[in-house]
């Protein structure tokens, strides 16, 4: 809690301390920066060791060390990736308001560190499966901006041929098993993926993402039991952004300590706004899962936007809470400070990266707009396997019919 004793949102936590490398008298013990040179090049592979914002809290396991190894190059990559994600989501917001995106659209800004930190710890042979807040997870898995925007706008160039929309991004070749619209449904699917991986014996794992709201679905507990019973290499990642639509976590969960809710399944609570903590936790979890079976990672994170585009996001939480998180815990700002504090790049260089991100996003949108709308015959394709289909009928059941392609 904060030393002044003033009432603060539980969501806020002073991070400045851990971020300022040498000004703090505790820097040595906190180990913010152990090795540091004056002019670290932004492309350098020199190892930096940085302390996570807060310690990990664990359940039935020894938590990993707070000292995370990184490099200037990795930090720059994190900044770039998160800047791009942030920009993409802001652009999606405008496209939605311009009615170029239809359907339901859920944005990820605020939660970027989870997607980026997770990717830093795993390979594309590991699987990720998530719910509908999937744009940035897709980007993290190597998806392109053009395919993202094309999918959002329902164009054939989209990652699901325009047929899935915002909630249904997929990238099979990179192990992204996609977005799911039904809350909680993806969790047992993740167990099935992990079971498959166990048999391939190639030391891969599945990261199954779900929200704090989804954590109250019975399916989670069915999945946990299955995963533990069969020692599956399954990592259950609860992205706790503290609200399920308009419902604060504590209103919906008797125990909002989601990392403990696996009971017999070990868990770890992670600052999901700290990309390095996320990376460390995911490295730890992957190793754990391959050796011992499932583990829960609760990512303490925050979504800046409302739940979906129809939610202003300000009726069930205060504006102060949102701006407080932005000021004190923003994942992008955290990395910016680390980069500046370690003389890896200059303020102007980082600004340029953000400008570049905006440019890339704008160009991708223009390109995506050139992608054609799907042909109406696409309505009938992919319902069944080609050649194994049946007939699909139109209005009169006689003339308007299509043998599924």
């Amino acid at each position: 809690m904060n030393p002044s004793g003033a009432v603060r949102s539980k969501l806020l936590r002073p991070l400045a301390m851990a971020l300022t490398p040498s000004s703090s008298p505790y820097s040595a013990t906190l180990g913010s920066i152990v090795s540091r040179r004056n002019f670290a090049s932004s492309s350098s592979d020199e190892v930096l060791t940085i302390e996570t914002s807060v310690p990990f809290t664990s359940h039935k396991c020894e938590p990993p060390s707070r000292s995370v190894q990184t490099t200037p190059k990795e930090l720059m990559g994190f900044f770039q990736d998160m800047a791009l994600m942030r920009r993409m989501e802001i652009a999606a917001d405008s496209l939605y308001k311009a009615k170029l995106i239809r359907g339901f659209c859920h944005l990820y800004d605020g939660q970027e560190a989870v997607a980026v930190g997770m990717e830093a710890a795993i390979t594309r042979k590991d699987c990720i499966i998530t719910a509908y807040r999937d744009h940035c997870i897709y980007l993290g898995r190597g998806g392109t901006l053009v395919e993202s925007f094309a999918e959002l706008m329902g164009r054939t160039g989209g990652c699901s041929k325009g047929k899935g929309g915002s909630m249904h991004f997929y990238k099979k070749e990179n192990g992204f098993y996609g977005g799911h619209g039904i809350v909680g449904a993806q969790i047992p699917l993740g167990c099935g993926l992990a079971f498959g991986q166990k048999y391939t014996k190639d030391e891969t794992v599945t990261f199954t993402l779900y929200g704090d709201g989804a954590a109250n679905q019975g399916q989670l507990f069915e999945a946990l039991n299955i995963a533990a019973l069969w020692d599956l290499p399954a990592i259950l990642v609860c992205e706790n952004n503290h609200y399920g639509m308009g419902t604060a976590e504590w209103r919906a969960a008797k125990s909002p300590a989601y990392y403990k809710r696996g009971d017999y399944v070990p868990g770890l609570k992670v600052d999901g706004m700290d990309v390095l903590a996320v990376k460390q936790a995911c490295l730890f979890a992957k190793e754990h899962a391959l050796k011992n079976g499932p583990i829960i990672l609760e990512m303490d994170t925050y979504r800046y936007h409302g739940h979906s585009m129809s939610d202003p996001g300000s009726t069930y939480r205060t504006r102060d809470e949102i701006s407080g998180v932005r000021q004190e815990r923003d994942p992008l700002e955290r990395v910016r400070k680390l980069i500046l504090g370690n003389d890896i790049a200059t303020v102007a260089e980082l600004k340029d990266i953000e400008k570049q991100a905006k440019k890339e996003v704008d160009e991708a949108i223009a390109k995506a707009k050139e992608s054609p709308m799907p042909d109406p015959s696409g309505l009938f394709s992919d319902v069944y396997v080609k050649g194994y289909g049946t007939e699909a009928f139109g209005a009169d059941r006689k003339e308007v019919k299509s043998v599924l392609p």
Binding site: F104, Y316, L379, F393
Partner: protein, 351 residues
Amino acid sequence: MRSITMVQKLGKVLTNTRRFSSANSISSKPINLFSAINQALDLALDTDPRSYIFGEDVRFGGVFRCTMGLADKYGKHRVFNTPLCEQGIVGFGIGLAAMGNRAIAEIQFADYIFPAFDQIVNEAAKFRYRSGNQFNCGGLTVRAPYGAVGHGGHYHSQSPEAFFCHVPGLKVVIPRGPKQAKGLLLSCIRDPNPIVFFEPKWLYRLAVEEVPEDDYMFPLSQAEVIREGSDITLVGWGAQLQVMEQACVDAAQEGISCELIDLRTLVPWDKETVEASVRKTGRLLVSHEAPITGGFGAEISASIVERCFLRLEAPIARVCGLDTPFPLVFEPFYMPTKNKILDAIKATVNY
């Protein structure tokens, strides 16, 4: 258990009223569909201290504002939020109803009713039968918004009514507009059987009509002829009636006289009203948004063929959603639109 006779003292049961005739009420106001639902829920809570409303975010009004203000008025012990767990919501409702309460459960979208499907089908519907009438959950009403909204995509658009029509022990009711919604919902809440009540979400704000302010009910299992005609009978329910009505108007311009029936209760449905109409017109068209194969239109067609085979002058037409998942980008093609209905009317009349 409360009996239906006691319930009838609460609000008057209106017989089949024409859409534009007054419901013999003291006063009425033009309101939209979600406000009409809100009024019905308000009356249900007011007239029965053992009635409860629960679901995801209902205490704050729910995503469609149907429960606005009710928690403030009746307290958060009677109007409360549940966690995000549909199976739990309905199972809980069955237990609550089994204790003699009126349990009004909201499922946020009909697309999310499937996690609760087992509870509805295996528990709610069969509780009375399998316990030899010792137990029942007749006080249970499950409300869920259904149907297309123009751009809802796969999981905010479906019309799952037919799944529930296949389950003896359940009733399925769908209103077409504000006035019907209020009267039918009150009947459902007070009916001693478990009921799934689907609300046409497209019309929540769009449909505005005069709704009596008092406590009134429309009888279940009674269809309503909302437009009289002599050439062909059209049967539908919910939001689809608006589309069908436009088709009727267009058909009239081409000299075809359509009779339009709102089924209102899908199970158990009013075969007599539909049969009487088809006997008169000799032709039938059924229309719904759900995919055609296995849709409730199939049941209506089969029953009417059984009853009116010799009177039919043309095959029964079904204008329904296509046999595909509800699409995101192809919604206009998927939907049983006015023009599709009009074509089918002409084809049937000219058969």
